[in-house]
């Protein structure tokens, strides 16, 4: 049968409507596994609390479709109380089976839930705790996350046609989609300022946590500036003027195109 993506079993729908064990866990006896990427539409975090090599408690948070939520919820029920060895053997087939099946196109969601659980167990065994995860990634703080020394492909070609290397009168960019590349604190300040003039500002940074003081970080997050972490600018393209950029996602190791009208790369003069 050619199932639609939303034709779920009663059990899947039940877990979607009433997800079990939602949330996070804290403590020295807790490990966390994280898989997926919001770009693909799924992101899962599973927390396990371990006692005597058994999963004493478990919790999850998920961004994703109905089956992503249901599989996360199901797996927490399946493995609660299990030994870590037993839990490592739980497969995506077990999760899908426990939900009375999933539409074929959704099988990857059940894969994610099992992967997140296994990642949590591995992290536990290697002594990695949830707090370590946020600092484990290399940050560019203090390394002088200045402008990329090499000009970006297309950067000189579109000078005056959408590429800016120094601060401009923000009203010039009214109604434009502006991409500001992270070249330090000044660029972040400019992004916040520009957002007052145009509805669409993207702040792109190669870092996981861009270098700036707490106040500016707060201001940036509070604003409607869209922050694009762990990304590099590969190329600027267009027909006579800036029309799109090629973005390299460092975390996912893939490239994609993003439609913008202007690119700001502040370079020291």
């Amino acid at each position: 049968m050619n199932m639609k993506s939303t034709q779920y079993s009663e059990k899947t729908l039940d877990h979607f409507r009433n997800p079990r064990n939602v949330g996070t866990l804290e403590g020295d006896d807790v490990a966390m596994g994280k898989v997926g990427n919001p770009v693909c539409g799924d992101l899962m975090e599973i927390y396990i609390q371990v006692e005597d090599d058994r999963i004493k408690d478990i919790a999850f948070q998920t961004f994703g479709c109905g089956s992503a939520v249901a599989t996360s919820s199901m797996i927490t029920e399946l493995v609660k109380g299990m030994s870590l060895d037993e839990a490592m053997k739980v497969t995506r087939g077990d999760v899908a089976g426990a939900l009375d099946g999933l539409p074929p196109i959704k099988m990857h969601c059940s894969n994610l839930a099992a992967d997140a659980l296994h990642a949590a167990i591995k992290n536990w065994r290697e002594g990695i705790r949830p707090n370590d995860l946020s600092t484990e990634f290399p940050t560019y703080v203090g390394k002088g996350c200045a402008a990329p020394s090499e000009p970006i492909k297309g950067e000189s070609e579109f000078q005056g046609n959408g590429v800016y290397n120094e601060e401009m009168d923000p009203s010039e960019l009214a109604d434009k989609r502006v991409l500001v590349f992270d070249t330090g604190v000044e660029s972040a300040k400019l992004a916040v300022e520009l957002e007052k003039h145009t509805g669409r500002v993207i702040f792109m940074t190669p870092s996981k946590e861009p270098a700036m003081d707490a106040d500016l970080k707060k201001e940036l997050k509070k604003s409607d500036v869209k922050i694009l972490y762990e990304s590099e600018l590969k190329e600027i393209k267009g027909e006579g003027e800036v029309e799109k950029v090629v973005v390299y996602d460092l975390d996912e190791d893939n490239q994609y195109e993003l439609f913008v009208d202007s690119v700001v790369i502040l370079r020291p003069t």
Partner: protein, 396 residues
């Protein structure tokens, strides 16, 4: 598998008119005799055939009037998708000697994108003109892409997803000056904007019967006098040889009635729908934090409200709304067959993760004011519940 979820408490609220519309009961009534009373083949020379011919040509007249066209300019097809195929493939086949370059827009309907890919495989050159953040084609960018080999541009009248209306009159004017033919897929705008080929002089235009509350299985291609196209379906030579096969008379009679009703009621109907749309947009943006409107703030279809919500995913929204008896639509990849997010939202400059959180409501003839209330009562709680589940949403 559960096919239909019933909320069990309140009647369903249908807010997905862009996907499918119910046939107006007045249309069904008119269609009935053509199934068994007046059933002749218009090509036959006997009495039954003559009766059918009269009906066919009267209906053609009514549909022509609806868009300000001449009777001879209306070609019946099986769907707007077929009309799009006939327009793009038929026109480029016929003009092969003149040039091999066509232009489409990044926000055109998926059928236009797939036809263009097919033409590319068969040796044609296709350029896709980008749009601004609201989904509008810029005349300057369009003009910059026209070269001496360009024979056709196909620009959708309005977006079936985000509801943005294109500056069609200006586009038609530009292409006329450049000597490039213009096709428009007008399905999304049909019955929502007054479409008249005398005001917006296009060369080819695709229309659908269902989009004006007529039956499915019928489309129209408007072919301006003097515009040559090659047929794709060959047979008995119906529709001036451009589209063979015995005419679907019940559906044609239905579409003619639907056009007549729409011609009379469009102004009142669209202003009513626009009040629903505006109330919904205002209500959602005010009551749900981190929510955004997709598409143009003013140049948009009167029935379209298209949102995105940060940190949640569209299919989860649809499922939750379905539980509450509300039918809507999303551009999220998780609900599509290809697992790719909407090309329209990406063309507007959204990131994949943002496109995933989109939700589209489209109003239509049988909606009531209270339907807006149902959404406004329901949606904020659903968004909040899903955000509580989401690791992406930063709790204040």
């Amino acid at each position: 598998m559960v096919l239909v979820m019933e909320s069990g408490i309140k009647p369903g609220v249908y807010l997905d008119y862009q996907s499918s519309k119910p046939v107006d009961p007045r249309v069904i009534e008119v269609m009935t005799p053509y199934f068994n009373e007046i059933f002749g083949n218009p090509s036959s020379l006997h009495l039954e055939g003559d009766k059918a011919t009269v009906v066919l040509e009267n209906c053609r007249e009514k549909i022509a009037q609806f868009i300000g066209a001449d009777t001879k300019e209306i070609i019946f097809t099986s769907s707007a998708t077929e009309s799009n195929n006939l327009a793009l493939i038929g026109y480029t086949m016929r003009k092969k000697g003149k040039g091999n370059h066509i232009i489409i827009s990044e926000v055109d309907h998926i059928s236009i994108h797939n036809i263009a890919k097919y033409l590319e495989k068969n040796g044609l050159e296709v350029t896709r003109v980008p749009v601004d953040q609201y989904g509008r084609v810029s005349l300057k960018k369009l003009e910059a892409r026209i070269n001496e080999r360009t024979i056709l541009a196909s620009i959708g009248y309005a977006s079936n997803e985000i509801g943005t209306v294109q500056p069609m009159a200006e586009i038609a004017d530009l292409l006329k000056r450049k000597g490039v033919a213009l096709h428009t897929d007008a399905v999304a705008a049909e019955g929502l904007l007054p479409i008249d080929v005398r005001d917006v002089p296009v060369d080819l235009m695709s229309l659908s019967s269902n989009d004006i509350y007529g039956p499915k299985g019928l489309g129209v291609l408007y072919v301006k006098k003097g515009t040559g196209i090659a047929p794709m379906i060959l047979g008995g030579g119906q529709e001036r040889g451009l589209r063979s096969s015995t005419e679907n008379l019940p559906a044609i009679a239905g579409m003619a009635k639907a056009a007549e009703i729409m011609g009379d009621e469009l102004p009142q109907e669209t202003s009513r729908l626009a009040t629903y749309r505006d109330r919904l947009i205002k209500g959602v943006l005010e009551s749900i934090p981190r929510s955004h409107l997709n598409g143009h703030p003013s140049e948009r279809l009167p029935n379209n409200a298209h949102f995105r919500f940060e940190a949640i995913e569209g299919e989860s929204l649809l499922l939750s709304l379905k539980d509450m008896g509300i039918s809507a639509s999303t551009g999220s990849a998780c609900s599509s067959k290809t697992l790719e997010p909407s090309h329209t939202l990406i063309a507007c400059g959204l990131l994949h993760e943002e496109a995933h959180g989109s939700l589209e409501f489209t109003f239509g003839r049988f909606n009531k004011d209270s339907d807006v209330d149902r959404v406004l009562e329901t949606l904020p709680d659903i968004v909040e519940r899903l955000r509580r589940l989401s690791p992406l949403y930063e709790k204040e």
